[in-house]
Amino acid sequence: MTSPIISIKNVTKRYPGVVAVDDVSFDIMPNEFFALLGPSGCGKTTLLRMIAGLETSGTGDIIVDGQNMEGVPANKRPVNMVFQSYAVFPHMTVRNNVGYGLKVTGVAADEIAPRVEEALEMVQMGAMADRKPDQLSGGQRQRVALARALVKRPKVLLLDEPLSALDAKLREHMQLELARLQQVIGITFIIVTHDQDEALSMADRIAVMEKGGVRQIAGPEELYEKPHSRLVADFIGKINLIDATVSGTSKAGVTCLAKGLGRVVVPHEGTASGSVSLAVRPEKLTLSDKAPSSDTDISARGVIRDVAYYGDVSNVFVTCADGLELAVNVQNDRAAAGLLENGREVYASWHPSDTLILEE
């Protein structure tokens, strides 16, 4: 049993009129790639800055590698940060930027040079060591910021929206590179992001935050397939949420009366009662112009209202009875050809086990 590298215990941070971080507690394990995910203003950046020691006067305990960070200033903490603006010092060369953190803490000059060289090689910036930041592109500046933090050999690397300033292509490339880097160095990364794709593709575990609180912590797959609440389900990817009322529970599952679907039986662990939402991902639905032959499938008859074409897939919106709107992801294969026309009558169906019952 390994002990956590970071323990967050009942951490709260209030600003006048707002609770930025609201009684948050969780652990992060060594070598984990951990993401704090949430919409802007959810407190994720504040929490990261509290770990770094840049935000003080909060309550609760932050324990890094067994040491309580209470009263430890930012410059004495065993964590380093990559800032959203990168904050690469404009008046220093790349080499001096990377060496700065070693120089100010009194590391001997003959030790600084090789460590800086090593850090720059790690981010493939060795050839640009003598350039000034204004001669670098955004992506290169980010690499410098990374090298500058990593050269300090922190126990935890904190990244604040590191990819938000990059264009789409470069962002995708850097996602892979960050994940690779994390595996090579083998230290804990905590990344703050509002981009669910970024979190899903890079992180081992994700904490979804909203209004200062953590709503769910899970691995990417679990978070996507088994969200605990409507909020998480809606924030991670797209999902159909169908209003329903529970009418009974049996061995086969929970029986509900759902809007536009009538009586459906959904397999469910545990109990459910009252008003719930049935949640089903758009890619679990299939479209057909005939009623499904299997009567175990849940299905709804409707009319195609809109088709959004994305090349490999199309997002199809189907209007069903009772004003139920279903989003369906359709692979653009031969079966789909000719089917996807506005106004066409179709059947949308899916397997009951792909349905989640969400009570919150």
Partner: protein, 291 residues
Amino acid sequence: MARRKSTRGPLDYGKSPWLILFGLVTFILLYAPIAQLIAFSFNDSKRNIVWRGFTTKYYAKAWNDASLVEAFVNSMTIAVMCTVVATIIGTATALWLWRFRFPAKSAVEGVMVLPIVIPEICMGVAVLVLYSRVGNWMRGFETGPIHWWNELFSVWPLNLGAITAAHIAFSFPFVAVVVRARLAGFNREFEEASKDLGASEWQTFWNVVLPFMLPGVIAGALLSFTLSLDDFVITFFTAGPETNTFPVKVYSLVRRGVSPDINAASTVLIIITLVATIIAMRMQAPSKIEG
């Protein structure tokens, strides 16, 4: 085809011959007196009217005029003392206004720039009134135990203290404004990054904040240097009989007619001011600010 007028945009005034001519005339009217002043400093004639040939003898004459040189040395000394003190006070003020939040901050900022907008003549009178009060008060010590105090302040360069203090008072807000403008472009994350990387508050100041604001500090220093060097009005009100500055001296000489040695001395002053201003502008160039 006939309506060519409409093809010119509102900012294409460079294409209009009349506007070019107007600009040229303005330019000449502004700079001809200065050009003439410099040209006639080399004129081999006692009067500034007709060109009689090239000479540098008036530079020598100005150099040998003990009272003119003394005034010049006084001016330079005051300017240097003023620059050092005004730069320190101005920079400290700018840092204080940038760094801290306190009640009535905007009021403080407004009051701080008052010396920039107050008419110089008013500043001059105000300083004169203040000094005469202080003078009366200090005369009370003439026979007392701290008599040495008055004697001390009659020794050069401390006898320039009164003028220097007045110069500091009106020039430090300029330094503060320039440095403050520079600091407005400072990204707080630089400071946080420095601390995150292990630097103390002081290390962060010396290694990150100071290098960033240095161009503003130098520009402000040179600005206060030129302001002090050529100030006439406030100096005129605060200068005693023993303490002449160059502009005041030139004024007293000119009343007896302009002689070429004044031209020569003025030319030297123009060059010093010009060099300081060029350096100040270079320091503030946009490319440097972006850093």
